[in-house]
Symmetry: none
Subunit: 191 residues, 4 copies
Amino acid sequence: MTNQVPRPGRKRSEQSRLAILAAAFEIVAEQGYGALSVERIAARSGVGKQTIYRWWPTKADVLLEALALKADLHIAPTPQDSYAADLRAFLLATFELARDEKVIAVLRSLMAEAQIDDGFGRRFRESFLADRRSALGELLDRAAARGDLPATPAPDLAIDLVFGTLWYRVLAAHRPVDDQLTDDLVAVLAP
Amino acid sequence: MTNQVPRPGRKRSEQSRLAILAAAFEIVAEQGYGALSVERIAARSGVGKQTIYRWWPTKADVLLEALALKADLHIAPTPQDSYAADLRAFLLATFELARDEKVIAVLRSLMAEAQIDDGFGRRFRESFLADRRSALGELLDRAAARGDLPATPAPDLAIDLVFGTLWYRVLAAHRPVDDQLTDDLVAVLAP
Amino acid sequence: MTNQVPRPGRKRSEQSRLAILAAAFEIVAEQGYGALSVERIAARSGVGKQTIYRWWPTKADVLLEALALKADLHIAPTPQDSYAADLRAFLLATFELARDEKVIAVLRSLMAEAQIDDGFGRRFRESFLADRRSALGELLDRAAARGDLPATPAPDLAIDLVFGTLWYRVLAAHRPVDDQLTDDLVAVLAP
Amino acid sequence: MTNQVPRPGRKRSEQSRLAILAAAFEIVAEQGYGALSVERIAARSGVGKQTIYRWWPTKADVLLEALALKADLHIAPTPQDSYAADLRAFLLATFELARDEKVIAVLRSLMAEAQIDDGFGRRFRESFLADRRSALGELLDRAAARGDLPATPAPDLAIDLVFGTLWYRVLAAHRPVDDQLTDDLVAVLAP
DNA sequence: TGTTAAGCGAGACGGTACGTCGCGTCTTACG
DNA sequence: CGTAAGACGCGACGTACCGTCTCGCTTAACA
């Protein structure tokens, strides 16, 4: 029952949409977020600037959609039989992505822009970040239902500890998020 | 034994320096990092642009020095008699700062710019961030020397957990770093 | 048979073009060439700087076009029946313009800039100055064809004498180019 | 009766004065007036900017004095026994100078600046230009006293014709002022 | 023989303007 | 009506010079 009103006029060009997303992703991957401008995206993707402004409010929103396209982030690992195993699987899947230098560059850009532009910040938090948090939240709920969850730390703190450490490594420490970190976090959270 | 070379020419104006730092801090506090430009700093502080460019490579460096001026960050809490007490004192002192909305705005700006400008990123990591890390590092060393340090988590991870959670709350969660968080972190790190 | 290639994109704004030319002319007329800057032209004409740089290489080129707009310089006096009469008519028409203080200010500015900027100097010589020279040249050719031209001075020297004296009065002597000068020059050139 | 008050304090440095004049002349000769700035003169001559501003009101005044130093312009040709011979000698001596490319560059610069800066314009007219005019004026007076002067053109016009043609060639035509021009002018003025 | 005052090289200062880049909006002709 | 093209008003960039103002030092005439 989706709104299927066939409106008059030319249809949105899927080809342009994909070219825009690819261009944005590549510019950030190759030259960093400082080199990303709407003008450059348009030039690289062979598109008019207006076509970008018609569909996205800011260049960061383009990049956010480009990330969603490049890396489907909604892959939930199949549930395991214990909290520790569930958590390990989640962390491995999450860190998998964060090992790709290009994805790292995009993530850092998005988090940076979220600090500078309040509007984008809200969108970023309420879509991307909230999604990730709720994925881990469901996992914790499942463990709690099973009575498998340790008293400490509390679920909310656990979530902050996991994503905090991950983002801190990416943003501040410039150290990789490797399997060692997975083991360490599991040891702390599911002792 | 400081380098006492009396260089020729007019001395640097301390008054201008302070006016610049104050202006930068206030613009970010009042209007956000998106409103910060070298031109505005100059106008607000009654200074020529060249005077800013003569002493700082980027506007973010101005802001970093302004933060150091506003909030002396080198206050080390006096050592307590246990790891838990030491850690609690450190966290309370650290979070004290991060409760000031203006300081928060500046911290978010600096971390954002560090993602966008590689040069500033390096300076930010190697001065500000390294300083904070080593303050906590010394505390952990002291505990280890006393045999007061739990086996888990390892010191490096402990540091990442503390600062990761702090920064994540500031950058991503937009939740305050309150005394509850202090208690929770102490419970996790010094059980 | 003009080039009728319908290029895509927004058309150049005639309104902005005229506002720019008027602003440049007025600034020089009111405050002198030293007060002319691209920034001021833009501010006075309510236009972005880029719009000026898009269409003119230097502010002097703007001024040159403004002069062409203000004073249509291609008015050739109708041929008379003798060299002396022809010459007198040409000089009167030419000096007419050079009696307007504003036009004088612009002419002095253009000649000054032509000395400082080689590129503009070439454009100024090959358009404006060459046009004026050839107007007088045709007049001399006509006289020569009629056998009406005295042996001395030769045509090339005659042209230098006329324009030299005119420009010298404007640039160096700050004396008006009046009807007396017309009579004097005719007496020298067509005795 | 010159003011011979022996004031205390350090004497003006003749060495700096000469270095400044030489630097100004060379910069214009080598790179054109557009490249002349007080800062560059100071750097090239190893002098502080203040030393320049202490003794000259503008960079054009420096250049004017530099020209006077390089080329002593007050050499009056020895009087001949006829107006035509006198005039020919004057023109040859005058054009001698105007054959040096470096001197040409300086003359063009001075005339240009005289159009832009009113204050310098007045000084330039009342010193340099007036000197040259009066040199020719004396020659004409001498001829008039001898009854050797033709009725046409009148002395004032003759002066304008000579200097007008000379300057026009230098400023507008970019053609050399050669011996041919000397002959032509003598033919026109002293037929 | 100091004391005083001017000149000096150096260079920081508050400004103005430069020419360029990017923003987000608009107008045009085509599909 | 979407699209590629591109002009538009605007704001900021980082740089060059402007003319002024300290600095510490040197160089004379005067006390």
